[in-house]
Symmetry: C2
Subunit: 79 residues, 2 copies
């Protein structure tokens, strides 16, 4: 893995959940770039070009993994 980018849109429950996923990624691969597309709308075109259709999404070496982790109401109750 030479490049990892994590795109998201700021959902706090999602961010918490995904923190676990990013922590589990191989540290030897170097830092994972985290892009908040609401705060950095200038990068929307880049994400679109890579093939990101929904967020959160993890891109590893150009391969997009869409993570379907919308916040359930149960999660919100305990956030």
């Amino acid at each position: 893995m030479s490049k990892a980018i994590f795109y998201h849109a700021g959902c706090p429950v999602c961010a918490q959940a995904e923190h676990g996923l990013l922590q589990a990624l191989n540290a030897s691969a170097g830092p994972i770039e985290v892009v908040h597309l609401v705060q950095e709308p200038s990068r929307l075109a880049e994400a679109d070009a890579i093939g990101v259709k929904t967020v959160p999404a993890l891109v590893l070496d150009g391969q997009v993994f869409h993570i379907n982790f919308g916040a359930s109401l149960d999660d919100l109750k305990h956030a």
Copy 2:
């Protein structure tokens, strides 16, 4: 991360894609168990109990990450 389980249903294109994700996971966390739910239907109840709603899904320490990586027709053309 003390336990990682990857549930899938055997889609070859998805398996190829997810291989990249599993490789990127921290090797120090120990082996990732891969469960093919079509071949091992006896584990469906377990996956259901953990909260797996769709496959492929990655479970890290009981936290479910649903990965929405259905095969696109483009992927199938190049598989």
